[in-house]
């Protein structure tokens, strides 16, 4: 889809018709194609294909937003949606002025990477790929369920705003994962690869799934699930932790990413997702968020990231922003409205909407902990005299201010004298956000750094699911409370 795509003409007409009726208007067309494959043991659980297309029209009238969405992608459909959006905005109580941070109009097309089109790979070939991995997890009678899944998505978007922006976007996302469940003696344990929430998804084609090498990891996943059945429970106490990159990604997502969403800081999400322990006034570079080892970026230009794009859903160009530098808070994640409300000169380019039927809200792009100087994971373990190495998220929960959290992982391994030792089951840890990040004393280097795609981030009313990526390398935290669950 290019910037001269016919749908842009429809969007332009709609935005032009809105002139004189509102302070701002935007029209978006989204076409989404998705396939989800799921198998377990020798059965196909699901082969689901989903295609949707529609228009979302958003207007700002007297400080109140109105948004209407329709599947009727025609001039009449767009006109009807515009009228409904205007009516909805007008029906709300009067609101004060709601300025938007300025943006330079953009025109163009952006396309994400995709070497092997996943929709062009035969369905049987994709299922066979998963079946091979599942077969490699089976054999031990204690494995009661062996599962594999894969997801592929292609999204085409077009956006026109009354500021003069007219852009198009095409992105492909692909990912897969494994899960083995073992049971014996009244105990059930699960082990996953490469991550526990449907596998690792990236902005890429089928080549990303091939690169995960599910088949090679499958036997280990099953063996560890069985091994966990008889492993001891992790005893409570205060310990040194090394978090695997996947667990660190979720820790980062929950306790830094969401906390730095400016709409939350401004109380705009108080009714659902919650607020933040960070105040807008903390953006004056006076707040210590973590130790000097902590450097966090939001980067919408990162190749392979699920939060990568050319422009956000308000037409703001993709940017890389330093959020935390040497432990000090530098910036927040913002859209045009929250940036203006906080007195910032420009939007952080974090307005994102799920599909055509939801309006843009502040979202993470690719929020990452930058690599450190602790070398490889082996180096970091060798440098740790007494600790635990935690892998693969099992449970997560954090309060509505993103202050106090509790996580559980599938597995913990003892570290003694710089070497990995015995396995523990049902590990968990808890902490307070700035204290926890303040205890960070080592981050592995670039060679261990990678992107972890999360596809289940919920926010907004009505709910929106967003895909984000987090770059992490294994990192070490001192004096953390473990064994809390």
């Amino acid at each position: 889809m290019g910037a001269r795509e016919p749908v842009l003409d429809l969007l332009r007409e709609t935005v032009d018709r809105a002139a004189g009726h509102c302070a701002y208007a935007e029209a978006r067309h989204v076409h989404a194609l998705r396939e989800d494959l799921a198998i377990h043991d020798d059965l196909v659980d699901a082969v689901d294909a989903d295609e949707s297309a529609g228009l979302g029209i958003r207007v700002l009238v007297g400080g109140a937003w109105g948004f209407a969405a329709t599947r009727d992608v025609s001039s009449a459909g767009a006109d009807a949606a515009l009228k409904r959006a205007l009516a909805v905005a007008a029906a709300q109580p009067a609101a004060g002025a709601r300025p938007l941070a300025p943006v330079m109009p953009s025109v163009g097309h952006w396309e994400g990477p995709c070497a092997i089109d996943p929709f062009a790979v035969g369905l049987e070939a994709r299922l066979s790929h998963l079946f091979a991995a599942v077969a490699a997890m089976r054999g031990d009678a204690r494995i009661i369920r062996a599962e594999a899944s894969a997801t592929m998505v292609r999204t085409r978007k077009a956006l026109v705003t009354s500021d003069g922006t007219a852009v198009t976007h095409t992105a492909t996302e692909c990912g897969a994962g494994l899960e083995a469940t073992a049971a014996a003696g009244g105990e059930i344990q699960t082990r996953t690869y490469p991550s526990s929430h449907g596998g690792n998804v990236a902005a890429a084609g089928w080549e990303h799934v091939l690169g995960l090498d599910l088949l090679a990891h499958a036997p280990r996943v099953a063996e560890e699930a069985v091994e966990l059945l008889t492993a001891p429970e992790l005893p409570g106490g205060r310990r040194t932790l090394i978090l695997h990159g996947e667990q660190l990604a979720l820790q980062l997502h929950e306790s830094i990413g969401h906390a730095l969403e400016l709409d939350r800081m401004l109380l705009g999400e108080a009714s659902y997702a919650g607020t933040s322990w960070v105040a807008p006034s903390d953006l004056d570079a006076s707040l210590r968020y973590g130790s000097e080892r902590l450097n966090v970026t939001a980067d919408a230009t990162l190749p392979g990231g699920l939060g990568t794009f050319g422009w956000d859903d308000e037409g703001v160009p993709a940017a890389r922003t330093m959020l935390v530098e040497n432990g000090i808070l530098r910036a927040a994640l913002s859209d045009r409205q929250s940036a203006a409300a906080a007195g910032l000169p420009r939007s952080g380019g974090c307005a994102r909407a799920e599909g055509f039927a939801r309006q843009p809200i502040v979202r993470m792009t690719n929020v990452s902990v930058e690599p450190g100087d602790a070398g490889s994971l082996a180096d970091l373990i060798a440098d740790t005299d007494d600790g635990l190495y935690l892998e693969s998220n099992r449970s997560w929960s954090i309060d509505d201010r993103r202050w106090q959290f509790q996580f559980a992982t599938e597995v913990a391994r003892e570290i003694r004298g710089g070497e990995l030792g015995r396995l523990y089951r049902n590990p968990s840890y808890a902490g307070i956000t700035p204290q926890f990040w303040g205890s960070l004393d080592a981050v592995c280097g670039r060679q261990e750094w990678g992107l972890w795609g999360l596809t289940n981030c919920g926010k907004g009313e009505p709910g929106q699911i967003m895909q984000v990526s987090h770059g992490t390398a294994p990192a070490r935290f001192r004096d953390v409370q473990v064994g809390v669950a």
Partner: protein
């Protein structure tokens, strides 16, 4: 534009072999507000056409929201190709026993309100203004959401299913907040928008914002009074952890080896009751199987799990679908109850429940619940928007929110008393296609609520 039933018939005609066409039309409006001002408003009119194809026990599915013949033909082709590819790749029969035969009929329900179905923004705007006014009276700011929706579901299948159901729902959430960040909560959910009372809800929320500094409670085990919203949140999780027929048949469920035994206090009577007076009723599930009341726990004894067609076949022993398919063909994660009702007890209100407690906690609602150990029904989460210390039998003063890590079944085992009047509780979450649901729950008092942070 044709109605959903006609569209379903037209879509089904493109399927060859065994299959089902399910059409869902959603019209909805959701208004959000924060700091006593409107913030976002989302109005939606969309229709999904889901085509399910079966081949040798394997299922393939395709969904589109485009209703042209070409789009329907393509979706049917994709669904059939998916089922055929699944059958070839699996090299053996699948686990779907075949689509259910049509029932003799469906019982009427009162879950559709033509006034609500208008999706009129005016009552929403008035509700926001009412919340703002009450907030201003108390020197507070209002946050929340108001929504109404109408969903029409039509289902036809090659097994002869030919059914349509219309439901409406409305939801209003009010959080009032003072300058220090102390909050009070109220939520109302109903099939009729006219049943929402914004002023009364805002007054209930305001009553929970008290001027005292919150007390900090150390980790430990405490007697607890859980208000209805907190109980509803816990029961939602119990529904999927304990009563999912597929997980139970595979030995992964929380009631593994416990059906027919006591799992909760004798006062606990839990059912899935789709026609209960205060619930959000539906005529049938996503396979067209009629919804009917099912006792799950009676007098503390676990009796049943719920099934869709697929999980019933897996369970064997004559098990049949109980009308709990949550997607056409049955979700691969299994079925779950959607109309849980916990019968109330004899206590007049939460004050009476708190009366015997020397030192304990009163919890308005829970937040960010997540499963720590599924078979133990062990959850963690925090309290939110109204947590209080109970002292000498009285809800005395505010507490700082706490984290808990506890088992739902353990809390039900130690339940001592329940309030007399259950009400419909809901998180009011509307991800994906609107499917409004909730749990009818009373408040209850239990022992040993495990505070972990």
């Amino acid at each position: 534009m044709n109605g959903p039933l006609e569209l379903s018939e037209r879509a089904l005609a493109f399927l060859q072999g065994e299959g089902q066409a399910t059409v869902t039309r959603e019209r909805s409006l959701l208004l959000r507000y924060a700091s006593s001002a409107p913030t976002q408003a989302t109005e939606l009119d969309d229709t999904s056409i889901h085509l399910l194809s079966l081949r040798n026990g394997h299922v393939g599915a395709a969904t589109t929201n485009v209703s042209t013949d070409e789009a329907l033909r393509n979706a049917a082709r994709r669904a059939m190709a998916a089922a055929e590819a699944a059958a070839r790749a699996a090299a053996g029969p699948g686990d779907h026993p075949g689509l259910p035969a049509p029932p003799e009929g469906y019982r009427a329900h009162d879950g559709y309100d033509p006034v609500t179905a208008r999706i009129d923004p005016a009552p929403g705007g008035a509700a926001l203004q009412a919340a703002f006014d009450v907030a201003a009276e108390h020197g507070l700011e209002a946050f929340g959401a108001w929504t109404s929706g109408a969903v029409e579901t039509a289902l036809t299948s090659t097994a002869g299913m030919h059914a349509v159901d219309r439901v409406t729902d409305a939801y209003l959430k009010t959080i009032l907040r003072d300058a220090r960040g102390r909050t009070g909560w109220d939520a109302q959910s109903a099939a009729k928008v006219g049943d929402l009372d914004a002023t009364a809800g805002a007054r209930r929320a305001a009553a929970k914002v008290t001027p005292e500094e919150p007390t900090v409670l150390p980790p430990g085990e405490y007697p607890v009074v859980l208000d209805a919203d907190a109980v509803g949140g816990l029961l939602e999780f119990l529904g999927s952890l304990a009563f999912n027929g597929q997980a139970h048949a595979e030995g992964r469920g929380a009631l593994e080896g416990r059906l027919g035994t006591r799992v909760a206090a004798p006062a606990i009577n839990l059912s899935d009751s789709p026609r209960y007076a205060r619930t959000l009723p539906r005529a049938f599930d996503f396979e067209g199987v009629p919804k009917a009341p099912i006792p799950l726990i009676q007098d503390g004894v676990a009796h049943r799990v719920v099934h869709d067609t697929r999980s019933a076949a897996l369970a064997g022993g004559g098990a049949r679908s109980t009308g709990h398919a949550i997607t056409p063909g049955g979700d691969h994660h299994g079925p779950t109850p959607t109309n849980l009702v916990l019968v109330g007890g004899g206590a007049a209100d939460v004050a009476e429940l708190a009366a015997p407690v020397e030192r304990g906690i009163y919890v308005t609602r829970l937040w960010y619940l997540n499963v720590v150990h599924p078979q133990q029904t062990l959850l963690t989460g925090t309290t939110r928007d109204g947590t209080f210390l109970i002292e000498d039998g009285r809800i005395a003063r505010p507490l700082r929110d706490v984290r808990f890590t506890d088992s739902v079944l353990r809390l039900l085992e130690t339940t001592e008393a329940l309030s007399a009047t259950p009400r419909l509780t809901s998180e009011g979450e509307y991800y994906g296609r609107r499917f409004a649901w909730g749990t009818v729950a009373p408040a209850l008092r239990a022992q040993g609520f495990r505070v972990t942070g």
